[in-house]
Amino acid sequence: MSIFIDEHTKVVVQGIGSQGTFHAARNSAYGTQVVAGVHPKRGGETWQELDAPIFSTVAEAVAATGANTSMVMVPAPFTKDAILEAYAAGIRTIVAITEGVPVHDMTVVYDTVVRDGGARLIGPNCPGLISPGKANVGIIPADITMPGRVGLVSRSGTLTYQIMHELAQAGIGISTCVGIGGDPVIGTQFLDVIQAFAADPDTDAIAFVGEIGGSEEQRAGEWIRDNIPDTPVVGYIAGFEAPEGKQMGHAGAIVKEGGPGGESAAEKQAILAGFGIPVADNPSAAAQLMIERLARP
């Protein structure tokens, strides 16, 4: 098994420009069912690179193809409307890759789609997710990983690839890897993914990559201690060297000056250690921790 996406996933792509097409074609080549593209002015055309139909709206795409998952790659100013459109069309797994979406837009989206809507929204500002051997929705380079039994959840895209790559080199594969995104408001939290991994019979261990800012890592850590204390869990928190008050790229990656505390990498590491969860000092060391942990009888 895997979480959120698998061989039954049928993807409609919102945003079929050059980047959207490049990655959708990669997803399709990996074996993911990419069944349609959506473009308001190109309905009725064929999406040549994917050999798939283009529809004017998500609703039409769903009606014609049975799409059950949307990949959103439209520019930031249109992301709110694109996600709301996918939701209104009945899609309940929405993967928003786009970065730079305003916080107030996401507050409205979160309320409608997640809090009141019960849909699974991954992102925005995320690399998407992959269930190796089954489906890849987003921009994760699939050839650096393989099917396996470790679940991976991360706020950072490229850092996730790093860890997947190092695990793969040690012969360790992945059940599902979810990049939840680096924004202050994201649809799926660390804890949501970890709970899904805990319920997945084919995930035996969990690796996570956190970042400075916010407190989601701590919340997830507390749940792990209370509910799955015997599951091997290791992690890394990026940003030990990040100065206070500076936003480090991701909109959510900031340790507030005079803030509530607990937002720095060192503080998160200490808090998680208190929950019995080892947090490495760098990504390679995290991969190494997992490798050692799985080798233990």
């Binding site: 107030h104 507050t107 490229t158 940003g239 760098n282 390679s284």
Partner: protein
């Protein structure tokens, strides 16, 4: 983007949040003296001289002084300009007519990351550190979450009234405080702010309420629909590194740091991890620079040029793990930048992996440029970059 006080007050005024009568900004003692002359000449009995820095606790640090004469204004400006407040140098002061204060309250609207909504906070205890009040007397701090469906047409006045009543603001000012909160919330929404804070919100002896201070953070991601926000960027206000300003103009995610290893990579997390690994190898990063997704040869060249233009940079660690950024684009960018830059003394340690990385590595190897040292792993690349910086120093 954080605004300083006088900018925040201008923003408040646009949305009908009552603020003191407008004053003037001064960068020199002489400018401050003429501003004080004008304000006192207009009939104000006192002038307040306030440091414009993006950090709290200005009063305690000596960054706020009330004066009644031009000579005292001169002394105040001399004392405050150049003052260091928690690492922020005061380059600008704001002078405005001093307000008569009967009481001080606290009021803010902010984006609440935990609950993913908006949060209104109000307290009868203002002019003090609200976090401290929250710790010592949590009952005195009223918090009201607002979900989007409640505020589609702005904050309803009955919610505003409920908040100021719960905070036990005196009956005489409740109505005007509720009106002010509605206006503050409108400013927060209309300007795509993530924080609008008034501390203190004052009651004047004639029972008006005014924002005596203003702390505003604007969402940089919403800049596309606020062309006017760019005007809030004023050079030299506070902690504005010239390289950071240049990077911002070019749309780059750049933060200046205090080491000598230039760092650029794709993805905020990877770049943060690169800083960590450089430190663990005994070095210090000179900067954080995320070249982002879909980096073209041109944007790579621009990034590299920016990092190399920092005189503190003794070596450069380029750390790319390809997802959206394809390896051959990175390689072409590095080679193109080198061609454009001509001679430069720093070694570039390049670690390339991921999407089309082999193609990228092949291009770099074929170029066989003496300044480029390819490296397969982050750890090894970090060690090489630190060593190169040391031998160049």
């Amino acid at each position: 983007m954080d605004l300083v006080e006088f900018q925040g007050k201008q923003l408040f005024a646009r949305h009908g949040v009552p603020v003191p009568p407008p004053g003037a900004v001064a960068r020199t003692v002489e400018e401050a003296v003429s501003a004080a002359e004008a304000i006192l000449g207009d009939g104000a009995s006192a002038v307040v001289v306030k440091a414009q820095v993006k950090v709290g606790g200005r009063g305690k640090a000596g960054g706020v002084k009330v004066v009644r004469s031009v000579e005292d204004a001169r002394a105040a400006a001399e004392a405050i300009l150049g003052l260091d407040i928690k690492g922020h140098t005061v380059n600008v002061v704001y002078l405005e007519p001093a307000s008569d204060i009967a009481e001080e309250y606290y009021l803010s609207v902010l984006h609440d990351r935990v609950n993913k909504g908006d949060l209104v906070i109000c307290s009868r205890q203002g002019g003090v550190d609200i976090e401290e009040v929250n710790r010592t007397d949590p009952g005195a701090v009223v918090k009201r979450q607002v979900v989007p469906s409640e505020r589609a047409g702005g904050l309803p006045r009955d919610i505003a009234m409920e908040v100021v009543t719960a905070a036990d603001l005196p009956a005489e000012v409740r109505a005007s405080a509720a009106d002010l909160l509605v206006a503050l919330f409108a400013a927060y929404l209309a300007e795509d702010a993530t924080l609008t804070e008034i501390n203190p919100l004052i009651r004047t002896p004639d029972d008006r309420v005014l924002a005596l201070d203003a702390k505003v953070s604007l969402d940089g991601n919403a800049a596309f629909r606020h062309g006017d926000h760019a005007e809030w960027r004023i050079e030299g206000i506070d902690g504005d590194d010239p390289l950071e300003a240049r990077a911002r103009e070019q749309g780059m995610q750049y933060v200046k740091l205090d080491g000598d290893v230039g760092v650029l990579g794709n993805g905020a997390g990877l770049v943060m991890a690169t800083l960590d690994v450089v430190a663990q190898n005994g070095g210090r990063a000179a900067n954080f620079l995320d070249v982002g997704g879909g980096a073209s040869a041109d944007s790579m060249a621009a990034s590299l040029r920016l990092v190399l233009s920092d005189p503190a940079v003794k070596s450069v660690f380029i750390n790319i793990f390809g997802g959206i950024t394809r390896g051959e684009e990175v390689a072409r960018g590095v080679l193109g930048a080198i061609e454009q830059l001509g001679h430069f003394p720093q070694q570039l340690i390049v670690r390339l992996d991921g999407t089309n990385a082999e193609e990228g590595r092949r291009l770099l190897e074929e170029a066989a440029h003496p300044s480029i040292i390819p490296s397969p792993t982050m750890q090894e690349a970090a060690a090489l970059a630190v060593a190169a910086a040391r031998s160049a120093a």
